[in-house]
């Protein structure tokens, strides 16, 4: 493997335009997002609702097309592929969905769901496909008799396991997990997170793990990207980010994480207001309207993502605070 990075995303942007003949603003869901993922690495993508996490995930999984920028998979550009090349790429990048009730077809048995990808990619014979499906089912700790049953017979946690098994059947190199635990009970969340971690280490998977829960990401990810309104605010190795967050937004988020230590409440920082509309983002730094340390200059320049420490990037002009 000559390429250092499995996935290179650079200056990615996505605008959602109103449908033809309708009036309405263009929604800038993602702007100028760049990051790389090494083989075997887990990158966590964190942000509030509307920050563009899912949009980035779907662009990486080739489910929607970017408006601008590039996504390189193993060094080759993916935004200009032919249909056949795209189908090949689809086998190598798989997606795990947030809602386990919507992500499985109610009219297919688990066996049909698990062999669908192999079917589409025309991999193996009928019996080989069944064997792979059974293998995937076993790897997510579900009983083999599940294969002839329908999704409605399973609980949310079990369905999410089936969703994970489906992503594994094609033996993908990259998995995009879009908030895989946020629709589940807290008691089940830990099981699923542990399962994903376990599979990741066992199969050497590379993963883009999307979440809005910093605690979950800390446990899973090697590198964390903090998004706000479609832009990267801060990007750092997981341990580094949690130990010394540099961006005021990250600090606010971390201070909001419930802690058993009562003394931490003292410096708790509550963000006021809501995330602005991505149809009409603030000028300059998108976070300035809610930033506790914003100054006048923040309104005039979009802060570039700069490397502070080693591998620690932030998009903030207030260097004087540290």
């Amino acid at each position: 493997m000559s390429q250092e990075f499995l996935l290179e995303v650079s200056r990615l942007g996505k605008d959602f335009a109103p449908v033809a003949f309708a009036r309405g603003p263009v929604v800038r869901a993602v702007q100028d997002v760049s990051f790389n993922i090494k083989r075997g690495e887990v990158v966590g993508l964190v942000g509030e609702s509307g920050s563009g996490k899912t949009t980035i995930g779907r662009m990486v999984a080739q489910l929607i097309e970017p408006t601008s920028g590039s996504i390189r998979f193993e060094g080759s550009e993916t935004t200009s592929l032919t249909r056949r090349e795209l189908r090949g790429l689809h086998a190598r990048v798989q997606y795990i969905f947030q809602d386990p009730f919507a992500s499985l077809s109610p009219r297919m048995t688990i066996g049909e769901i698990l062999t669908e990808g192999l079917d589409i990619q025309r991999i193996g014979s009928r019996s080989e496909r069944a064997a792979k499906a059974a293998q995937a089912l076993a790897s997510v700790d579900l009983p083999p008799d599940a294969i002839s049953r329908y999704p409605h017979e399973f609980s949310g946690g079990q369905r999410q396991r089936i969703g994970i098994a489906r992503a594994l059947t094609l033996a993908p190199e990259l998995i995009v997990a879009d908030e895989p635990v946020s629709a589940l009970d807290v008691s089940i969340q830990a099981q699923i997170v542990n399962l994903l971690r376990d599979l990741q280490t066992r199969l050497g998977l590379t993963m883009l793990f999307i979440a809005h829960d910093l605690a979950v990401v800390e446990y899973v990810a090697d590198t964390v990207i903090v998004l706000y309104l479609g832009r990267i605010m801060e990007m750092a190795p997981s341990r580094e980010l949690y130990a010394s967050p540099q961006h005021p937004y990250t600090r606010a988020l971390l201070s909001a994480v419930p802690s058993p230590d009562p003394s931490r409440h003292a410096n708790r920082q509550i963000l006021k207001g809501d995330i602005p509309s991505p149809a009409n983002p603030p000028s300059g730094c998108v976070f300035r309207t809610r930033c506790p340390v914003a100054i006048e200059a923040c309104a005039s320049v979009v802060p570039p993502l700069r490397e502070g420490g080693k591998g620690h990037f932030k998009a903030c002009i207030r260097d004087d605070l540290h």
Binding site: L86, S103, L104, I120, P144, E153
Partner: protein
């Protein structure tokens, strides 16, 4: 799989069917429909008269032991013509149902799944097909392609698909954004795979109900066309042209068996099919899952 530890529960279609059989009216409809089908399909094996045999000694005779349902103006047996007419009417209705269901599904499904441009173009075409006044359209088409069984099938099929394609498209537009369809695309699925593996199973309720009611509709359209002399042409029997043949006032007044039996058969069959169709609609309604 080898290790089935317990019986797997029924799939969605089997559950719908079991609900169907709990519906009284639908079962009655089926109980009427099945004998009608059996009689029309097998009558030449057990009924001694042929539908086109003329018996000049037995014109306009009422029901008797020789002709159970009487005979018509040229001495043809009404029973034989009724059953042959039923065969033709059901054939026309069933084949045109199959064609229009096929057309309606694929046009609607392609509009729903193939993207915005194809959708727009297809749907304007459907709008156009729907704005044509049906009776005039039928008359024009029938006068272009002529009368007979095959043209009648063609005309009825061509008239009926736009409604179905709208329903299918509406369902698939919603389906397209569902996660399991997105997942399928994420695994590289093409249009054909999406249509067959996701579109078809998830519109099966619409298709079954439409197909059933379309058979009833087809019987009526065939009867109407034949009554106007544009459908199935004599001497071939159909319920519509039997009614047409019996429409003179003196026939209506003096020989009621000549129109009562085809008319009655038409009403009973259409009613039975509609009962079955309603039963299927209720059975496939997702809200009835909650009961």
């Amino acid at each position: 799989m080898a290790s089935l530890t317990h019986a797997s529960s029924a799939g969605p279609i089997r559950r719908a069917l079991s609900r169907f059989f709990e519906n009284g009216a639908a079962v009655v409809g089926l109980a009427i429909l099945i004998p009608i089908l059996v009689l029309t399909l097998t009558y030449d094996l057990w009924w001694l008269h042929k539908p086109n045999d003329i018996d000049l000694l037995a014109m306009n005779q009422g029901p008797s032991s020789a002709h159970w349902l009487g005979s018509d103006g040229v001495g043809r047996d009404i029973m034989a013509r009724l059953l042959q007419g039923g065969r033709i009417s059901l054939l026309v209705a069933t084949v045109s149902m199959a064609i229009s269901t096929f057309l309606g599904f694929f046009i609607g499904a392609i509009a729903g799944f193939a993207g915005r441009f194809v959708d727009g173009a297809t749907m304007r075409f459907v709008d156009l097909a729907m704005t044509l006044p049906p009776v005039i359209f039928l008359l024009v088409l029938a006068s272009i392609v002529g009368s007979g069984i095959v043209p009648t099938i063609f005309v009825i099929s061509l008239l009926s698909w736009p409604v179905l394609s709208r329903m299918v498209r509406a369902r698939l537009l919603e389906l397209r954004e569902r996660d399991f369809v997105v997942a399928s695309r994420g695994m590289g699925a093409g249009l054909w795979h999406l249509l067959i593996r996701h579109g078809l199973p998830n519109t099966i309720d619409i298709l079954v109900v439409y197909a059933t009611l379309q058979v009833a509709n087809g019987i009526l359209l065939e009867a109407g066309l034949s009554f106007l002399g544009l459908g199935v042409t004599p001497p071939e029997a159909s319920w519509g042209n039997m009614l047409n043949a019996a429409r003179a006032t003196h026939v209506l007044e003096n020989y009621p068996w000549q129109w009562m039996f085809p008319g009655g058969a038409l009403v009973v069959t259409v009613l039975a099919i509609n009962f079955v169709g309603d039963g299927l609609r209720d059975a496939f309604d997702p809200r009835s899952e909650l009961k």
